[in-house]
Amino acid sequence: MTPLSHGLRRLATPAALLTGSLLLSQHIVRDSTMIAGLPDPVGPTGWPRLMLGAVGLCALIWIAKELLALRRAVHQQKPVDEEYEGYANGRAMIGLGLVVLYGLALPQLGFPVATLAFVALWCVIGGIRRPLTLALVTGIGCVVLLYVFVLLAQMPLNRGHGVFDDFTVALYRLLGIY
């Protein structure tokens, strides 16, 4: 990678922060006419605007630093971080995706089913392959969680929709929670 393209890539984050702060400063409240009549010079938008200004200013300093480095045409690639040598980037992406899917599945599948599926998949991604270990970890772990949160803490965790709702209710009855 050339110093120029690398420098431009490093400029992306502060540029995004600066653009974001400028855009957000125009949309602090839904209707800006509502603030026009207020006698208070600070008002509800004063503090957020100050924070956005501070973020924008820091982003400008960052951009200036990057431009200065770019002008000196120096490779500013970070030294290889030993902590991230041999790091599984692909696994991280899958992991993050799985976390998002778990969140989205919760209202649809209900807490028990979504959690069972999530724990099992996460363990597989994490390198646990033995079916017995997987079954024991997910099964016992999820049952313990249900007892703690639904029975003891009385948390109204999602039961899911349709057939999943029926399944959750049946499971709770089987476990003696309902």
């Binding site: 409240v29 509800p44 938008t45 924070m51 501070a54 820091c58 994490g126 109204p156």
Partner: protein, 512 residues
């Protein structure tokens, strides 16, 4: 003596069976979380926070205090036994602790570490008990402008301590302050930065932000790192530690304790800074500097004492002014706010029982830590066999349940997951998450003090500078800010000599 009478009441509260059981549970949880590499006690505190809703305020604070005290030490177990610091503050314990293990002195190293930590923690808790009330009496002179100035100082000190990455810390903190403004404003009841999403009108809960940043991002990172295989724990007990051995290293323990207590009071410094400085000082002061790194007992005792000596004194600015100096104390502040307790000088008069129960809990936790740490150290090899994937899966599930439990609202789960992704990205790009969390917590308080100050003093902006205490604190904050931002600004003002490459300083950021 008022303090002693109140402390007696505090001990009665802390030794109440229910409180005591939760204090011990928190202590054990903290030691275990600290000892497991990749899962810090801050993660444990963040995950435990929403569950403290179910507890009375005194019990909740005892529980979190237990996790805090136990967790700060817990990281040293893995540092000494397998050369992996469980927490950033335990890094100096690797330097002389692990060489002792390699010599077959693991038991001796652990005993020294536990004793030094307990001594440092106990001294710090005593300083908190007898030093905080007079400080709170002084803080009674504070009005809204002074509280605003003190909050600003707390925010600035978070940047100041990250000397090598002040710009990143500043951006992180301002983003946190910005997140804190989302929702209905405190003065006019007008929705701000909701972008048409009705769920955002009730604001972004700081507990949810904390769980996402400290737990989810960390766990994703944990399953992707290359496993450090091939490590084995030396189980040879080695020569045991006697009182005469501890007496021989008393100067190191005392020096570490003194440094830790002093550094702990400074908002933003925390255990990591305390331990590293104590190790450096000890290297010079012990007369054995040339042998440091080969398993010198003084090199282990000093940072261990310093690390735990920051725990009690870090609570002084938190309880008297509401300034959290680290991620851990920020979580303690969050717990107080959750239970409707406003930290500040008035807390010592309106809620003396709670305050002194916290003091008593800190003292008891440090005494019990010796037993708890010994127990965890014994079963540590078993704990280490639990695959990170299994631990990680249940940490994420607990985080999701915790986020949901804050307001029984699924939207909070989505916010938590979003911050989990943000936490992971921040970890990989060198953005420190602690300033962001401090910003989210202190932002609404800061804004409220700012607006009420202006309302009380006819919109006069100069009031913050003309009042003596407020002006002094703000001047200190400005000096702190200039001092911390100077390394970032200097390259912009100075032309470098020709043919000299511009070097970026290594990124060191504030951690828990």
């Amino acid at each position: 003596m008022d303090i002693l009478a109140n402390l007696a009441g505090g001990f009665a509260g802390a030794l109440d069976p229910y409180n005591f059981v939760l204090l011990v549970s928190g202590l054990m949880l903290g030691v275990v979380a600290g000892a497991l590499p990749g899962i810090s006690f801050v993660n444990a505190m963040a995950i435990a926070l929403p569950f403290t809703y179910l507890l009375p305020p005194v019990t909740a604070m005892s529980f979190l205090g237990g996790i805090y005290v136990g967790g700060v030490f817990g990281g040293s177990i893995s540092s000494i036994l397998i050369n992996i610091p469980g927490t950033p503050a335990s890094l100096p314990s690797c330097w002389d602790g692990y060489p002792m293990t390699r010599k077959g002195l693991s038991s001796r190293a652990l005993s020294i570490a536990i004793t030094a930590s307990a001594f440092g923690g106990l001294a710090s808790a005593l300083l908190l008990t007898f030093g905080a009330p007079p400080f709170a009496s002084f803080a009674l002179k504070f009005d809204q402008p002074e509280f605003f100035a003190a909050t600003i100082l707390g925010l600035v000190s978070v940047i100041a301590i990250a000397k090598d990455a002040p710009l990143m810390s500043a951006i992180s903190m301002f983003l946190g302050l910005l997140i804190g403004t989302v929702g209905v404003d405190p003065m006019y009841g007008m929705p701000r930065l909701t972008l048409g999403v009705p769920d955002l009108e009730s604001g972004i809960n700081f507990t949810v932000v904390m769980i996402g940043l400290f737990a989810i991002g960390e766990v994703v990172d944990l399953i992707c790192k290359r496993a450090g295989g091939g490590r084995s724990i030396t189980t040879k007990p080695g020569k045991q530690v006697g009182l005469s051995d501890l007496w021989r290293i008393k100067s190191s323990i005392l020096r570490g304790t003194g440094l830790g207590c002093t550094i702990g009071v400074i908002p933003g410094a925390g255990a990591t800074v305390g331990a590293v400085i104590a190790y450096s000082v000890e290297k010079q002061a012990s007369g054995k500097g040339d042998r440091f790194g080969t398993g010198v007992e003084e090199g282990l005792a000093a940072p261990e004492a310093a690390k735990n000596a920051t725990t009690g004194t870090a609570m002084i600015p938190l309880l008297t002014l509401g300034i959290p100096g680290s991620a851990a104390t920020a979580i303690m502040l969050a717990a107080m706010l959750i239970h409707g307790l406003n930290p500040g000088p008035l807390l010592f008069t309106s809620n003396a029982t709670l305050v002194y129960t916290i003091f008593a809990s800190m003292l008891i936790a440090n005494l019990l830590m010796i037993v708890a740490a010994m127990g965890v150290a014994r079963v540590f090899s078993t704990l280490m066999r639990v695959p990170p994937a299994i631990l990680g899966a249940f940490i994420i599930v607990l985080s999701v349940v915790g986020a949901y439990g804050v307001r029984n609202n699924l939207f909070d789960v989505y916010v938590c997951l979003a911050f989990g992704i943000a936490g992971y990205v921040m970890k990989r790009t060198g953005f420190p998450p602690a300033p962001l969390v401090v910003g989210v917590i202190l932002g609404p308080l800061c804004e409220r003090y700012f607006l009420t100050s202006l309302a009380n003093y006819d919109g006069n902006m100069t009031v913050f500078f003309t009042r003596p205490i407020s002006g002094t604190i703000l001047a200190l904050a400005i000096a702190f800010l200039v001092w911390s931002m100077w390394p970032s600004g200097r390259p912009l003002l100075r032309r470098p000599p020709k043919d000299q490459p511009h070097k970026e300083p290594p990124q060191r950021v504030l951690k828990a």
